[in-house]
Symmetry: C2
Subunit: 367 residues, 2 copies
């Protein structure tokens, strides 16, 4: 049985250099990589604006982020045959429009070379220069079609800067739909920190990571739906990170709130999306299985169908806290959740989630 | 079979008067009830700060909010035998600490009289003067024990003003636990409006109501859990509105993020809650069934167990948009969801959700 990991990140060496070049002492804009005086050999990645505050040092960033050998070793340890790697957040959102097209092409070429070096075990979702001129974005979408190992693109929730319901995104969605480009939507910005209250710093990064990240994805996809993106681009297919966050819980309420909103409906009005969110979920959305629990997996499958859920690991994030643990708890938890979510009779469905769905949808041609 | 509605709101006449008295022209602080010049007989309830902007007029507020006859008629139409009514958001959060104890007592006495007038079909969750001195809050918790139809309290997510993880809440949790007072936690504040982007006003109230409300509840309960409220008050039992929002989707991720957080765990550290969120959910949390979909109901049942999910309607909110519709679509959607979530063999479980669980847990003594 082939296991495919569709949610696994890599920073090509060029991206690491870019992040290192951005640290310029206190007050540097995130993201960046820096070291501290008392640990000059321990580079740390600072992604969130408040991660470099007193006592906070972001996360260690070592070869697990850039080494293809470590990626393959991680895959072997966890019985993963194929990985579709993607640049992690925040991608190139932080670059100026002048810089981003060049970097996107360079990083995508790096990914292509990395995948070719370990064919057929690696494929990738490319990165787009979303801060660049729309023509450069569309050109990169088309160029990705020519790269043998590219299987789609990874994007965040801000789009061109104003979110995924921005009308200016139309020409990007159009290009993605026309080229049948698969889109992996991943969070980065979370929620405003005020929602976690004044004690948030006592809780490590638990609340922003566990709640803010997935809620950001849910809000983004709801904004796409209610602004009728899928009415205009019905072929657009999007994979949501972390099973879409809260969408399995809240899809029913979303639809009900639309149907009860006097501004959009009633008195013969039919404003808002033509298809229900449940229909769009079953026709245009894929969910990864990165939910760490049987209830979450079952809800994801119930919502989009067994053919539209795909295993992932989120590697190299959420490593074991104990240095001697070879198997990762985070991966084991997701494997166990899938096993618990399906009965013995549903073994084929479980295999679909573990790899078959991704092989088919992303044409992975695994032996 | 007895159907019990545990999520249904009423504004006693005294609360309506209070809201009317708060409108004092443009710039009045929400919540308030006002009329507009072109419709002097159409009082409108403004709850959210931006609801009274150009073109927005909040929602109509008529006898469905205060009339016990209309509540009973709604119950009869929808085959509801018993309702546990509660004051709707924002309760008394907006009052000064000087005013709130008096109003809480008056409103609770009003509820007691309303329930007595239609015994045994009505019970209520009382309101607490949370902006008042802690001694007055504790006194009202104890006084509610003496009211025949009181079955707990309804609270929002701000607690004494700083959230439910505020250490000052300890003495309130202690009083609630000691008196075995059942707590209904309901959202009001939603999320900062920036998360919905610049086009939010085009979408009516869909996004704040469908996403912000339930996400607020989820964040609140996560803050309670991670601040170890249930380690200190293991007897505290809380019912979450709207099935806890996103908690069925995100419980696994919450636990996983705690276990992978280097600030709280690892190197022998065991900071944070002693029990997993999944354990707390099964031992201390009830979820209402106000989720408008089978996937949401199944996830709720999977998370807390079939004995801890309870039917609700959210009446008088989400009325039909067509004036001639006697049966409410919002109620029908929730009934259908429960029917779909259980097989014929699980009929007893469905009956538990529809009423049996509430009768047992809240001691409703329905004939």
């Amino acid at each position: 049985m082939s296991v495919v990991d569709i949610h696994t990140h890599m920073y090509p060496p060029s991206y690491i250099s870019l992040l290192q070049s951005r640290y310029d002492g206190a007050g540097s804009a995130v993201p960046y990589i820096r070291t501290f005086e008392d640990a000059p050999d321990d580079p740390r990645l600072i992604i969130l604006p408040d991660e470099d505050a007193k006592g906070g040092r972001g996360r260690p960033v070592g070869p697990e982020y850039w080494s293809v050998e470590q990626k393959i070793a991680f895959m072997d340890t966890h019985n993963i045959e194929t990985s579709v790697v993607s640049l992690a957040n925040p991608w190139l959102d932080f670059l100026s429009g002048f810089e981003s097209p060049t970097w996107a092409a360079k990083i995508n070429d790096d990914f292509e070379a990395i995948c070719a070096s370990h064919s057929p075990r690696l494929f990738f979702f490319g990165v787009l220069p979303l801060s660049g001129p729309p023509l450069t974005i569309i050109a990169e979408i088309k160029r990705l079609q020519t790269l043998k190992y590219a299987r789609g693109v990874v994007i965040g929730t801000t789009g061109l800067g104003r979110g995924l319901d921005d009308p200016e995104m139309g020409k990007i969605w159009e290009a993605l739909e026309e080229t049948n480009t698969f889109v992996f939507l991943h969070p980065h910005y979370g929620l405003p920190s005020s929602v976690y209250g004044s004690r948030a710093s006592e809780y490590g990064h638990v609340l922003p990571l566990a709640l803010g990240f997935p809620m950001e994805t849910t809000i983004a996809v709801a904004r796409m739906w209610i602004s009728c993106v899928w009415d205009r681009y019905p072929g657009l297919q999007i994979l949501l990170a972390h099973a879409g966050g809260a969408i399995p819980s809240l899809a029913g309420r979303l639809q009900s709130c639309l149907e009860h909103d006097g501004h959009l409906r009633g008195n013969g009005k039919e404003e808002g999306p033509k298809r229900t969110i449940q229909e769009v979920l079953k026709q245009n959305i894929y969910l990864d299985a990165v939910v760490y629990g049987e209830v979450g997996i079952s809800a994801a499958v119930g919502l989009v169908g067994k053919d539209r859920v795909m295993f992932g690991t989120d590697h190299p994030f959420f490593p074991p806290l104990g240095a001697d643990e070879k198997e990762w708890l985070s991966v084991r938890t997701n494997y166990d959740a899938i096993q618990e979510a399906f009965t013995d009779e549903q073994d084929q469905d479980a295999k679909g989630v573990l790899g078959g769905n991704a092989i088919k949808v992303l044409r992975l041609q695994v032996d």
